[in-house]
Amino acid sequence: MPRSSKSTPIRVLIAKPGLDGHDRGAKVVARALRDAGFEVIYAGLRQTPEEIVRAALEEDVDLIGLSILSGAHMALFPKVLALLKKEKAGKIPVFAGGIIPDEDARRLKKAGIRAIFGPGTTLEEIVTTAQRLARPAA
């Protein structure tokens, strides 16, 4: 089945796994992506990896963005990736943002997180990367 063409909006799921309650960053990113023409499915706070993967599949998204500040990224991100693979949806690119130490970021990238944005990243960089991840040919 052919994937959506270049002219159709990119659908992205923005979710916050885990227990921290700070979603300002996720909301700012959601808004920037919207302004860049994305359709952002905002799943909000305190999502389990199972909920995130289920939402991604039901919404048939092109891309998943995870935001985390709690420090539980080493537990939760690989879980999301593993569940996606289990559902044969390992091809959906996952990017992340939040407070993630460099050493962890390296390991997460090796595990399959396609991009990681720390503090100081510009919105433009996030948007461009998201576009590239969702539509590599574009």
Partner: protein, 321 residues
Amino acid sequence: MTVRARVPPAARAIQKGDRRVLARAISQVENGDPAVEPVVRALYSKTGRATVVGITGPLGVGKSSLINLLVAHLRDHGRSVAIVAVDPSSPFTGGSVLGDRIRFDRRADDQGVFFRSMASRGELGGVAARTRQVARLMDAAGFDIVLVETVGSGQVDLAIRDVASTSVVVLVPHLGDEVQTLKAGLFEIADVFCINKSDLPGSDLARKDLTELIALGATRSKWRPRVVQTSTTETSGIAELWSDVDAHEKFLDSSGQRAVDDRRRLSVEIVELVRERVGRELTDRLDRDPALRKVLDEVVARTVDPQDAAERLERGPRRGR
């Protein structure tokens, strides 16, 4: 070739309950991908079993929270539910934030629920047609109930009537006096009025106002719209809301109104499809046919009026082509 052999594999998968294929087909409907057309068409004969309920109302009245509780109520009674939540796209960038999922909490392993967010993407008529197709796909996938959530602002809600057999209009206390209700255009489409946030003061007055308006108004059928008070913070009125929806559904069957509504909806849909097709064809012909381009020149020069040109276009010089 047997009929069965012509059913696309995706259609069969959707009927068997494959959620990934359903999700993908919905995307294709949204994108106007012609590849989904045989799937939608093959599944048409399998639709008409689900109860399709529209939930509409202004921004911030608590539609999503209400749907969350309604789904929990329906799941407790063993009914499977699919939800399509339509939110507006930005007319400037085409982007959108679809946030209806935030209010939605349920077990991640519950296979009896399917939630899909949809952006309105452009013109109004298109939303209604796409929403109808999505609701049909969900129907064919075997869900007992399909809930269609839309932001109520005039014309989109009228489109809801062409998709849902029962329409719930959600309001809140102090939204304005009864004149506002008359203006809002929501009045005509409601089978059930739901006054949400009824934990707030003013709910009883809103109920009284609405009830009086209903008593005064001429209704489309013998159904007199119900008014129900709900609160999602106190979780009250949810069972009553559903029983009002149910009462309307039963009325549709017992009165024969369902058949009347169905005929009306489907005839509108057929005419729309023809209009769309003919419109495309005519636009094409107007572009390519030199004789017709000349007519257009004359209209531009004010020597032929548009009405006359339209008649000529309708007759269409098909000779030799």
